[in-house]
Amino acid sequence: MTTLVRLRPTAPPRRPGRIAILGAPNSGKTTLFNALTGHRAKAGNYPGVTVDRREGELQARFGADDVRLIDLPGVYSLEPQSEDETVAVRVLEGGFGEPAPDGVVVVVDATTIERGLPLLAEATALGLPVCVALTMIDELKARHGEIDPQELQRELGVPVIGVVGNRGLGIDDLGALVSAPWDWTASPSLSRGGEGRTPEDRFAWAHRVLGACRRQAPEPNRWTRRLDRFLLHPVIGSAVFLAFVAFFFQAIFTWATPAMDFLSGLMDGLADRVLATLPDTAITRLAADGVIRGVGAVIVFLPQIVLLFTVILFLEACGYMARAAFVVDRVMGWVGLEGRCFIALLSSYACAVPGIMATRTIPSPRDRLTTILVAPFATCSARLPVYLLLIAAFIPADPVLGPFTWQGLTLMGLYFLGTGAALLSAAVFKRGLLRGASLPFYLELPPYRLPRPSDIALGVWDRAKLFLRRAGTIILAVSVVLWFLLNLPRRPADPELSDAENQRLVLEGSYAASAGRLLEPVFAPMDFDWRINVGLVASQAAREVMVATLAQIYAQEGQDEEGLGVLLSGSGEGGRAPLLSRASALALLVYFAFAMQCMSTLAVIRRETGGWRWPAFTFAYMNGLAWLSAWLTFVLASAVGA
């Protein structure tokens, strides 16, 4: 049980202290952690689980060296039901191969103090020294509420410090306090509160403590109520929600495009420069086509990822994200998921990697896993270049009705196909494989608050780093391996032939070509020849690599990427036979809509689910579905004479 009183000057341990920061979601924990560490934190993972781990060093200006702060996941209680809570408890009890922390700062939102104190009682019951950081004091006063930290300290017996993280008030005191956790002691009352076995006991204890403190509860947050009346209005609220989704797509596709084009142009230009200036050897070509273009394939996504997370983190911090989940929850409920899954799926339209990273806010492990398994169906931006190439080449641009053309409708159809596949598979998984009791649905709607730009910047930076590390290394590695597969074995250049012709001959004899031929029986029912299969192999690095690879395979004199579509569909002037029938092209489009062709997504699924089981499953079921649908498309399209 709890250590009650420690006599003051027993020789305090003078080793580096580790202090855990514990608090409910939205309690102001992150702002506080950032203020104490000076916005320098190491983000990572706890081994074997998927919960974010953030650690940082206490800033030296608080007068202590070597105090490490651990930002625990936001939890309502220490009852280990969700993954977040399990991690919090394991860290506090000394798990993950590390000793238990030397003290715990419990962050309590002063405006909802009644809800925060039970967590303090639970933390005390673990027997660690605790202290309280009372946040949102300014908001409490603005809403005519009152609590005296001194009185609360007297009642609880542990240090209580009122802080306003936004303005740095109280941070110095808190910083000094966390350097000496061995001085914190709990009063008998607090220890008894921690002994309460049921939530009721702990809430009743919190009520008694607050009763002894002459505390004035705050008035309802007027601004939040007013904004909610508007933003959650049956009609206006739905319109706002749709506008939010439109804004989201606008941001990740339209606004990110110039930066993405610039970066890909920059990397291509660099690769071309290298090819032009250095002697033409295998090493040069590996550097240019394998490494530089490989790096390019990664960083081209960076503007989108940064923009995506800026929007997400901003809306999350200001309080709208929870409202969006609240509005859409019913729709998600039809397929067995919940509102929070929507945000992750929405992000996946940019790229499944950040989408899967965003599932961490989903408390129910089953819902979370389901979302991870279906997120790769969302039409990510890497599919677009392939869609655009094939649609331009095979679908007529004739108008259908008003402003709609066959091309536009096909693209829209492919988006619906991806979305439909995601929702339907979610429904199937939740009814079958992942059926079972889940946590009850609850969602806290925090008050609207103006976010701190530095908190958002830090969050975006953390995630961008994570993306580069996880996806970047994989894409680069696959890109280099592919270069070898496409260029080996070596073959002496024939001086009689042009460079492009020589290149094509190397490719035709390459290991990748052998793989393509090996795959021929698999894709023969759709009439894909070995060249398309090589493209499918190459697109395992990232889907858009398909376009460049096909361009390389079909490279002939005077043919560049623009000519590729003409070549594929045989629509050129020379009356050349098409290399792909329209039925096969439609099948290929459908294949791309469903297939799991992205190594980085698989790697992220492995990281997030802690093993190869689920990525293997995802690979199998998505590609199975893709093959079947492509074959059906081919059969149907052939039947109607497409």
Partner: protein, 82 residues
């Protein structure tokens, strides 16, 4: 005091209610109680989502939303004087 018991899912105005009991067993009911929906706690219906479900409640100074299926488990009565 109004003795009629109902569940919080039926609440449709902003009157202050008091939680009489949280039905159901095991982890589910425990989770609801841990986030603050426990016997004796005052709770107030605020609004429904635009599509009718879930609904938002004021609970111990915070806004919490529950689906109808969860709200059915929370039996309430009207608070004396409210």
């Amino acid at each position: 005091m109004d003795r009629t018991l109902a569940d919080v899912a039926d609440a449709s105005d902003g009157r202050l209610l008091e939680i009489a009991e949280v039905t159901g067993t095991g982890a589910d009911s425990r989770r609801l109680r841990e986030i603050g929906f426990c016997t004796g706690a005052p709770v107030r219906f605020i609004r429904r989502a635009p599509l009718g479900d879930p609904a938002m409640y004021e609970l111990r100074g915070a806004l919490m939303s529950l689906r109808r299926s969860e709200a059915r488990r929370i039996r309430v009565h009207r608070r004396a004087g409210a």
